[in-house]
C-alpha cells in the first residue's frame, strides 16, 4: 500500500478497506489484548499501530516524554507506554486508558514535518513524513506524539491517515458510528446491561426519588405530582414534579398553559431556614386568567408557606447562550494556541486577551446572581422563584450554584451528581442541542454546562476544604461532556431519553439494568450508559482522585435533620391571602405592575390590598438581606448591622465567593493543560498536582490502614478490641454519615505504599520503591537533578519516600536525604 514516505495518496481510497477490517474483526476480539499490550474493549479492533512513538506528557503528568506504542482503533487513539504493567485481562473494560483519547473528542489533527506544519483532514495528502503528530481535542487537551527515527515511516504515515479519516469531525452519522464502535458489540452490550446503577446518588427519575429529596431537605408542605407522567402537560419537564401539597392535580393541570413550554413553578430545594427555591419559565401573557386559575397560580408560586415571594429574573444580567458560546470560543482559541496556523497570543497580551474573552465576566455574573439568591434564601421564610424565558439554561446554572453554595451535601461527589441530575438532566437542559454533538445545529450550541462547571471550580478553588469533590472530578466531568456516549447528555429532556429507551425495549437503560438481548440486534442503536458510571470510563486510580481523601474541616452534615425551620407554619399567612411579590433585577427590588400578569390589568383586586403593604414593609427587609451579601465581602466585624457571623462551622452559611477581579481565577488545569507554549521548556518541571495536602491526607489514610492491620495482628479476637483504635481515629475525621465515601467501610486493599504485611518493621516503606511501582517514568530518570515534585504517577509509586514522617515528629524530615531521583 504505502511505498514510502514520499507517497501521496488520498485518504478516501482506504475507506472500504478499513470498513472491511472493522467488520471482519468486530466481535471477535472481545476482551482480547493486542500483542503490543493494548487492552481492547469488547469488539474493538485496532486499525493501525505505530511503534517507538514518544508521547509528550502534560504538566499534570509531570512533563517530559514517555515512549511506547501508538494505536488507532475505530474508537480511540490509544497509547501504551513501553513498560506499563500488563493489563489485567479479567478486569472490566475501561473506555479510556490514561493516555488515550476518544476519536470523537478530537477536533483537529496537525502534523509537524521537518520544516512545516500541516492540518490533516480526511482528504488531505501528505508530502512529507511527519515528525510530530498533534491532536487538538474538543475538551481542550492537546496531545502530542513524537515519531522517532526508529518508527517505520510507513507506520507513521499510515497511522496519521488512519486517525485523520476515522475521527471524522463533521460527518453526519459519525456520532452513531462512534457509539457503535465504543459500545455496539454484543459483548459490550451485555456488559453494559449488567452494570449496576450507582445507588449512592439520587437519580430523580421516579416519584420516590423526589420524595427522598423532599425528606432530605425537610421540606414539608410539598408533594410529588405525577401529572406529567406521560409528558402531556409539558414535554420538557420530567415525569415527576414537586408542587405545593394543597394544589390538587386537577387544579394543577390548568396552570401549565400559563407558562412558556408549560414549565410551571416547581420546587427545587429548601434552605434549612425554611425558604424554598423554585424555578419557572416566563409567563404566557396572552391568556385569560380565570379567577380559579389565579388562585392556583398564586398558590403554586408562593409555595407552601410564604407570604413573600421574590421573582429573580435571570435574563437581564446573565449572559445569553450565544454570549457564552462566543466567549467559550474565544477562550478556546486563546488557550490552545495552534501550531498549524502559528496563531498564539503573545505573552504580553495574555491578560488583556483573556479579559476580552469575557468568560470570567460571565462566571462572575453567574456567581453573583447565585450569591444574591443564596443570601435571600438565608433570610428564611420566603419563596425565591428563578424565572427565565424557557427555564432551561441559566435557571439550571443559578439554581444548582445556589445549592452548591448553601448545601454541603452538594459539595460531595454523589451529592453533586444528584444535583446535576436534578437541575440539569431531569430539568430538561438541552444538552443535546447545546453541545451540538452532531454539528448540525450551530445556532443552538452553547456550553452552558461548562460555564457552570467553571463557576463551581471558582467556588472550589476559593474554598478547597469545604468540598469533598475535587477539581479532578470536575475535570473528568468536563471531558466527558465531549464524548457522545452518555445518555445523560444525549437528549434534551427526560421525554427524549424515555423515547429512546422505549425503542430499545427498555433493555439497556442502565437505569434499570434489565437485560433483554433480543432487541439489541439493531446495531444502529447501542445502549448508552450514564455519565455517572465512572468505572466504565476511568481507571481506579483516576477515580480515587475524584474526592478528597480526608473530609473537609467543617464536617459534612447531611441536611436530613438539619431543618432549622422547626415550625414553617408560624410565619405563613392564611391560604387565601396572596402575598407580596417582588422582582429582583440588577440587585434592586421592585414591584412592577405587570410582574404577575394576572395581577395587572383586569384582575386588579390584588393591587389595593397588598402591593402597598408589601412595598412599604418588605423591601427594606429584602434589601438588608442582599446588603448582607455585599458586606459579607468585608470582615464581619466591620459591619455592625449584620447579624453576628455564624462561625465557620455553620454548614448552612452559604459559601459566598469573592468576586473581585483578582479573586476570579482561570481554571488552568483545564484550559491550559494542552497549551503548547506552557510546555516549551523541555525540562520536567513542577505542577501543582496532586496537592501536597492530598498526599499528606493519603498518608494519613495509609497510616490508619496500617493501624487497622496492626491492631488486627495484635488481637486474636478482632471483633472486640480491634475496632477500638480505628474508630477513635476516624471519628476525628468524619462525621455521622460520610464514612461511606470517605473511608470505605469495606476493608481496603493494602495501599500501594503500605509495607508488605510480612515486614517486621513498618519503616521498610522508607526503603527502595516497591518492586511493583510502575517503572513507566523512565523518560525522566535521566534528569537526575530535576525537581520531580508533582509527578502524579511517580508520586503514587513512591509516596513514602517523599513524605515519610520521622516517627513521632510533626515535622517533615529535614535531613533524611531521601531523594526521588536515583
Amino acid at each position: 500500500m504505502l511505498t514510502g514516505s514520499k507517497t501521496t495518496f488520498k485518504v478516501r481510497q482506504m475507506l472500504p478497506d478499513i470498513k472491511e477490517r472493522m467488520l471482519s474483526q468486530s466481535g471477535v476480539t472481545a476482551r482480547s489484548r493486542d500483542v503490543f499490550g493494548l487492552r481492547c474493549l469488547p469488539g474493538e479492533c485496532v486499525l493501525q499501530r505505530a511503534v517507538m512513538v514518544r508521547k509528550k506528557l502534560s504538566a499534570r503528568e509531570g512533563r517530559g516524554w514517555v515512549s511506547g506504542t501508538l494505536f488507532c482503533t475505530h474508537f480511540r487513539v490509544a497509547f501504551v507506554p513501553q513498560d506499563s504493567p500488563k493489563p489485567d485481562d479479567n478486569a472490566d473494560p475501561v473506555l479510556l486508558g490514561d493516555h488515550d483519547v476518544a476519536l470523537a473528542s478530537i477536533e483537529k489533527v496537525v502534523v509537524v514535518g521537518p520544516n512545516r506544519t500541516k492540518l490533516v483532514t480526511p482528504n488531505s495528502s501528505l508530502k512529507f513524513t511527519p515528525e510530530e503528530l498533534v491532536l487538538y481535542c474538543k475538551d481542550l487537551q492537546v496531545i502530542c506524539f513524537l515519531f522517532d527515527r526508529l518508527t517505520p515511516d510507513a507506520q507513521v504515515i499510515e497511522i496519521t491517515y488512519t486517525i485523520a479519516k476515522t475521527y471524522q469531525p463533521l460527518k453526519p452519522g459519525s456520532v452513531l458510528s462512534f457509539q457503535n464502535a465504543a459500545l455496539g458489540s454484543v459483548e459490550m452490550k451485555q456488559f453494559l446491561s449488567n452494570r449496576r446503577r450507582n445507588t449512592h446518588m439520587n437519580w430523580f427519575e421516579s416519584a420516590s426519588d423526589w420524595e427522598q429529596e423532599l425528606e432530605r431537605c425537610g421540606a414539608t408542605g410539598w408533594r410529588v405530582s405525577s401529572v406529567n407522567d406521560r409528558f402531556e402537560m409539558s414535554t420538557s419537564l420530567p415525569r415527576s414534579i414537586v408542587v405545593p401539597q394543597k394544589v390538587f392535580d386537577t387544579e394543577l393541570k390548568k396552570s401549565f398553559a400559563h407558562f412558556n413550554e408549560g414549565r410551571i413553578p416547581r420546587w427545587c430545594w429548601r434552605h434549612p431556614r425554611g425558604s424554598d427555591l423554585l424555578r419557572m419559565a416566563s409567563f404566557q401573557n396572552n391568556i385569560y386568567h380565570e379567577k380559579d386559575d389565579i388562585r392556583n397560580l398564586e398558590m403554586i408560586l408562593f409555595g407552601c408557606q410564604s407570604s413573600l415571594c421574590v421573582v429573580v429574573e435571570l435574563g437581564e444580567e446573565l449572559p445569553s447562550p450565544a454570549d457564552i458560546q462566543l466567549a467559550h470560543g474565544r477562550l478556546r482559541a486563546l488557550s490552545l494556541g495552534d501550531i498549524s496556523t502559528s496563531v498564539s497570543v503573545p505573552d504580553d497580551k495574555w491578560l488583556s486577551t483573556l479579559e476580552s474573552t469575557r468568560w470570567l465576566d460571565y462566571t462572575r455574573a453567574c456567581l453573583r446572581k447565585a450569591s444574591e439568591v443564596a443570601c435571600l434564601l438565608r433570610g428564611g421564610h420566603l419563596t425565591v422563584a428563578l424565572q427565565e424565558a424557557d427555564d432551561r439554561d441559566m435557571g439550571c446554572v443559578v439554581s444548582s450554584l445556589v445549592q452548591v453554595m448553601c448545601d454541603p451535601h452538594c459539595r460531595t461527589q454523589h451529592g453533586f451528581q444528584s444535583l446535576v441530575q436534578k437541575e440539569w438532566v431531569m430539568a430538561g437542559h438541552r444538552f443535546y442541542s447545546r453541545i451540538n454533538y452532531h454539528r448540525d445545529n450551530d445556532k443552538e450550541e452553547a456550553p452552558v454546562f461548562l460555564l457552570f462547571l467553571d463557576c463551581v471550580w471558582q467556588l472550589l478553588s476559593q474554598n478547597p476544604s469545604r468540598f469533598q469533590l475535587t477539581d479532578d472530578f470536575l475535570l473528568a466531568l468536563h471531558d466527558s461532556i465531549h464524548l457522545p456516549l452518555f445518555s445523560s447528555f444525549l437528549a434534551n429532556c427526560q421525554r427524549e431519553r424515555c423515547k429512546r429507551s422505549q425503542n430499545l425495549g427498555q433493555s439497556y437503560t442502565p437505569v434499570n439494568g434489565w437485560r433483554d438481548m433480543e432487541s439489541s440486534s439493531d446495531p444502529s442503536d447501542p445502549p448508552l450508559p450514564s455519565v455517572w458510571d465512572w468505572s466504565l470510563q476511568y481507571s481506579k486510580h483516576r477515580r480515587d482522585r475524584f474526592t478528597q481523601p480526608v473530609p473537609p474541616i467543617p464536617p459534612l452534615q447531611p441536611l436530613l435533620n438539619g431543618n432549622l425551620n422547626t415550625n414553617p407554619d408560624t410565619h405563613r399567612l392564611t391560604d387565601s391571602t396572596p402575598g407580596s411579590v417582588f422582582l429582583l433585577s440588577r440587585g434592586v427590588f421592585s414591584c412592577p405592575a405587570n410582574l404577575l400578569p394576572w395581577r395587572s390589568g383586569s384582575s386588579g383586586v390584588y393591587k389595593k390590598s397588598h402591593r402597598r403593604a408589601a412595598s412599604s414593609e418588605n423591601v427594606p427587609g429584602l434589601e438588608r438581606l442582599l446588603k448582607a451579601w455585599a458586606l459579607a465581602e468585608f470582615p464581619q466585624g466591620l459591619t455592625r448591622s449584620t447579624p453576628a457571623p455564624q462561625g465557620p462551622l455553620d454548614p448552612y452559611e452559604p459559601l459566598l465567593p469573592l468576586l473581585m477581579g483578582p479573586c476570579m481565577g482561570l481554571w488552568k488545569e483545564c484550559y491550559l493543560r494542552g497549551a503548547l507554549h506552557a510546555q516549551a521548556f523541555s525540562h520536567p518541571v513542577s505542577a501543582n498536582h496532586p496537592h501536597p495536602v492530598e498526599r499528606l491526607a493519603r498518608e494519613v489514610q495509609q497510616l490508619e490502614d496500617q493501624l487497622a492491620q496492626v491492631s488486627t495482628g495484635t488481637d486474636p479476637r478482632p471483633p472486640t478490641k480491634m475496632a477500638e483504635p480505628r474508630r477513635a481515629d476516624t471519628n476525628l475525621n468524619q462525621n455521622t454519615n460520610n464514612g461511606t465515601f470517605l473511608f470505605p467501610a469495606a476493608p481496603r486493599p493494602a495501599p500501594r505504599a503500605a509495607p508488605p504485611p510480612t515486614s517486621t518493621n513498618h519503616q521498610t516503606s522508607r526503603g527502595p520503591p516497591p518492586a511493583s511501582a510502575p517503572p513507566s517514568r523512565l523518560g525522566h530518570k535521566d534528569n537526575k537533578h530535576t525537581f520531580l515534585f508533582g509527578h502524579p504517577p511517580g508520586a503514587e509509586a513512591r509516596p513514602d519516600q517523599r513524605y515519610y514522617p520521622a516517627p513521632n515528629s510533626a515535622k517533615p524530615p529535614k535531613g533524611s536525604g531521601s531523594s526521588i531521583a536515583s
Partner: protein, 638 residues
Amino acid sequence: MEKSGSVDSLGSKRSSSRQPSVDSLSSTSTSRSDRSAQAKPPFAMSSDSVAASAELSPEFRQVLRDSDKEPQLLPNETVQDYAQDVTYFCPFIGALRGTVIVTNYRLFFRSMDRELPFVLDMPLGVVSRVEKIGSASNRGDVSYGLVCKDIRNLRFAHKQMEDTLRKSIFEVLVKFAFPVSNGLQIFAFEYGQVFPENGWKVYDALSEYKRQGIPNESWRITKVNDHYEVCDTYPSTLAVPVNIPDEELKRVAAFRAKGRMPVLSWIHPESQATVTRCSQPMVGVNGKRSKEDEKYLQAIMDANAQSHKLFIFDARPSVNAAANKMKGGGYESEDAYQNAELVFLDIHNIHVMRESLRKLKDVVYPNIEDSHWLSNLESTHWLEHIKLILAGALRIADKVESGKTSVVVHCSDGWDRTGQLTSLAMLMLDGYYRTIYGFEVLLEKEWLSFGHRFQLRIGHGDKNHTDADRSPVFIQFIDCVWQLTRQFPAAFEFNEYFLVTILDHLYSCLFGTFLCNSEQQRLKEEIPKRTVSVWSYINSQLEEFTNPLYVNYSNHVLFPVVSLRHLELWVGYYIRWNPRMRPQEPVHQRHKELLAKRAELQKRVDELQREVTNRSASSLSEHAGSPTRSITPVQTFV
C-alpha cells in the same frame, strides 16, 4: 495550592493561626491593622515604658489609661504626641473618628465611635511622604495624606488648630517618619529588644564558601578587599580563581565599573560550573580592552573542566547596554573574549521598575476595577518584568545545570539586576537556599554583602521621596521567590508570611538588617552592635514561618514555568489591605492539623507494633510451654 499560599500572609489569617480560637475569626475588625501590629515582635513590652516615657501631661496619661487604648510599646519606644478627634478616611469602610498616637516608631490610630474598635498600627518607616491637603473641607478641617511604601495611602483629617502655635500631630509625625532628614536616629538604633537567637550570626562568608567547597583546586578565598580598598561596595571576603594573583585582581577591578570584578557566587557541587557576578566592563566608546580581564574570564572558564565555553549574561536590554558605552561602560565584545557568548536578558532599569510598581499601586489601591482588572494589570507591566527576571534566572540555572557551563552575570553596576538574577538562579539550583536559614544566608550574601544599596533604593528615614535612586528591586526579587513557591509549594521551608515579614521589615526600620548600602558602611555604623537583626526576630519563632508541607528536595533543581500564563499577581502582598481579599479559609492551618494527625497516627502505629512484637514473643514462649493453646497471632509482624 490555589489559595493556601496567599492565605498565610494576611492579617486575619495570621492571627487565627497563632491563636486558633473563635475570636480570630470574629475579630477581623483589626485585620487591617494587625499586619502592621505584627511588625512588632509579639513579646514587646508595654506599660512600664509608657510610664517611663516622655514628659506627657498627666491629663494625657489619664486618657491613655482610662481608655486602655495605648499601643503595646516596644523597648525604648516613646510616645511623642497624641491627638483626639482625628478622622481616618478608610477607603473601604468610610470615615472613622478616633485617637492618633505618634511614637518614635509608629503611628497608632484607634477609632472611638465604633462598638468594635478599629485599630491602625503602622511603623513610621513605611511612610514615603506626608502631604497636607489644605483645608479641603469647608468646616475648617485640615487633611493629611500619607503615601506609604507598602502599597497603601492613608488619609487623616482633624480640626484646624485654634492654638496656631501648636503643631499638628502630623507635623510631629513627619519629624519621626523621616529621622534621617531631621537629624534624628533611625529607631533601629534605639530598639533594644533581646532575642533568644542572634541573627547577626546567621551568615559567615567563610563558612558559606566552605559549604560550597571553596577553597578548592580552582578557587581560592582572597583577602585583597579586606579593608574595602579594591571595591568599597564588595564584601571583604571574595572567592576568585586560584591562578589569578591579587595584584592582577586589582587591575581587573580597575576595568570593571565601581571596581566590582567578577567573583564567585555559587559553584555546582558536581560539575564545578560556577555563577560569577560583576559589573559592566569599562569598554567605552573606543572599545577599550583589558588583558587582565580577558585572562580572568578565561580563568573562570578553565576552572570548570566540563565546558569550553563561558556565558556572559548581561541583564540589560542590548540597547541600554550599548548606550552605557557613552558613559564609559558597555559590554564584553566577543572578539575580545574568546569562547565567551554574550546574552542580553532585556531586564529594564530601576526607573522603569519604579514606574511599574507605581502603576500597580494605582490599579490595586484602594479600589479595583473588576471589569478591566486584567487589562489594567497588564498595563502596569509588573508581571512582565517579573517574568523577564525569572526567565533570565532560569536561563542561568539551565546553563549551569544542564549545560554544565560557567556563567558571568552583570548589569551596569552589578548590585540590582545582577543580585536578582544570581540569587534567583541560586535558589533554583541549590536546595539549601530554600530553607529558612539558607534563604537568610542567601540574602545576607547576594544582597547585603554584595552591596545592594538598600538605603538608597528604599530611602530609610529620608523625606526625599522623589529620589530617582529609589526602586523596588528587592520587592521584585521577593515577588519572584513567591512565584517560585507557588509553582513548587513543597520545595521551600518558609511560608508566604516569611516573605511578607521580610518586606515589612524592609521598611519598618525596626531592625538593622536592611540599613545602609554596603558591608563597609554597615561595619562603620556598627550596625551589628547597635541594632537587632531581623533574623533574630524570625529565628526566635520559626514555627510561624515554616511551611508545613516542606519536603527536603535539596538535590533538585527547580525549573519554573515563566510564561505569563503561569505567573500570578501576589495578591497576598499587594492587595492585602483590601478587606475584600480576605482568604476564605485557613488552609495552612489544615496542613498543620494533618501533619499533627500524621505524627499522632505514626506514634500509635509504632506503639502497636511494639506491642505486637512483645506479645508475639511472649506468645511464642507460651506456645512452646503449652502446646494446647494454639491461638497464635497472625505471623505477619514477626
